[in-house]
Symmetry: C2
Subunit: 309 residues, 2 copies
Amino acid sequence: MPPFAKKRFLSVAALGEEGLIAAIRRWLGPASPPAPFGIGDDCAVLASLGMRPLATVDPVIYGRHFGDGDPAWAVGAKLLKRNLSDIAAMGGRPVAAVVALMLDSRTSLRWLEQFHRGLAACAKTHRVSIVGGDIARNDGALAASLTLIGASGRRVLTRGGARIGDSIYVTGVLGGSVRSGHHLAFTPRLAQGAWLGGRPEVRAMIDVSDGLAKDLRSLAPEGAQAAVFAAALPRRRGASVASALGEGEDYELAFAVRANADQPAFERAWRRAFPKLRLSRIGTFAPEGDAVAGALRLADFSGYEHFRR
Amino acid sequence: MPPFAKKRFLSVAALGEEGLIAAIRRWLGPASPPAPFGIGDDCAVLASLGMRPLATVDPVIYGRHFGDGDPAWAVGAKLLKRNLSDIAAMGGRPVAAVVALMLDSRTSLRWLEQFHRGLAACAKTHRVSIVGGDIARNDGALAASLTLIGASGRRVLTRGGARIGDSIYVTGVLGGSVRSGHHLAFTPRLAQGAWLGGRPEVRAMIDVSDGLAKDLRSLAPEGAQAAVFAAALPRRRGASVASALGEGEDYELAFAVRANADQPAFERAWRRAFPKLRLSRIGTFAPEGDAVAGALRLADFSGYEHFRR
């Protein structure tokens, strides 16, 4: 659905700021509680977040994260889901979000309504409140940036903590995300992230969003490299190894399991908890510089680099 | 300082995303703690925010909130200060911020460094940690959106709660903010907001950012209008009544004091606490439709409307 209207009266330019805010509150419905717990005051007042609140921010930008062919409701849901995936990767629980909109004045009201209805439906599914935001006009750009605030689980699983010898696991299948529509349709791995946060054999976790090759560099301990085997790589139907390693937008979880863990018991527990979601042991962390027979050269698959491609 | 470089090697296009993130962490310095408490993991882990955390978001956009003539460090500070003003208006204390950048690839590295150094200095002054962010390229736009997370004081002062008959007060002077440079140089009224939150005679508060006339509409109780007197309006030197009411970007506090309060005692307490900051009683909330002799017709001063001017 193209986000720009050809006629002014169908665009955001037809509404004043107050009218637009009123429309957005209507579109969000119960996903946005009344002020001061939702939109309408200088700040939003949140429920208690416990001892270790979590915060993350990710945008969706026209021409980059979505285009004319994408349904607006799916773009609104994607904005939240990208951030939910980050909360999942820490083993946390999402609570509240604020949204900063940057709107070209030609943005169609119909597109904006569908965008917000998709955002609201996703917020309802995951019990997230949309508590505030900002609207700014900026001709030439259509973007929304969402900050998601969450509560941590019993344990916060970070990217740090993996050790040499640890096994590397990944959920689901990788590659071909944009071509297949997965980049819009994916389910953030919140339940899995929370479960993994409760497993002592899991040492570190990341969400696979920039491409596995790049994301594993962030998960690798100091002085180590990821030794990943092509045959073990769970690929989406039709996706190449290069796509699975470098394309990104997979929104799966990659994590390290300590070397001395009871792997069969861990994998059985996973299958009991998540019988429908594939789990793959794709390799290990090896000392940097070691030649691991049969392992992929991950340095050849750079992953997503925003400013260079 | 113009934000765009004429030569590619002086622009963000010369760095990959990882190089740019490394540079930003260097520029932010101690304002950004190590991951997972700062930039570098899927989410940032925050310190406990108490029972009622606060959240707010505001952007700065090239061509709207700043231009070629504005120092980049002042733009970085303004991004944080706009949000600090919102925390002040709830009587809260700022804690942590995440920043979503949208960068035209011509954005100069020198501009971006100064922007971040100004942001970091302001964060240090107000003990705010810059804990995370996102960088996206979007040619044709240069913008940054900051979400500020805070902790509430003993009491959360909202926009709601004023009653007919309450006095209306405003801090500082209004009008001429852009012309005078106040929109960049202002000091957010955090100490004052926290103090006012502790005063039982203060019933409701807002920060004056969209223009007093519009902001008082948000502070007025149901069925009431603000009756404001021109002679009582504290104006910046050279600023007209229209500018003081409608121009916006004042970043002062407006609040309602209950009608039966001991006003002289309240004003004496203010002067003891803040001897250098002017406090003005500018009017009262009167029943809607009443003609209040001598009061300004605020409806004629619409305040800032993003989509219509």
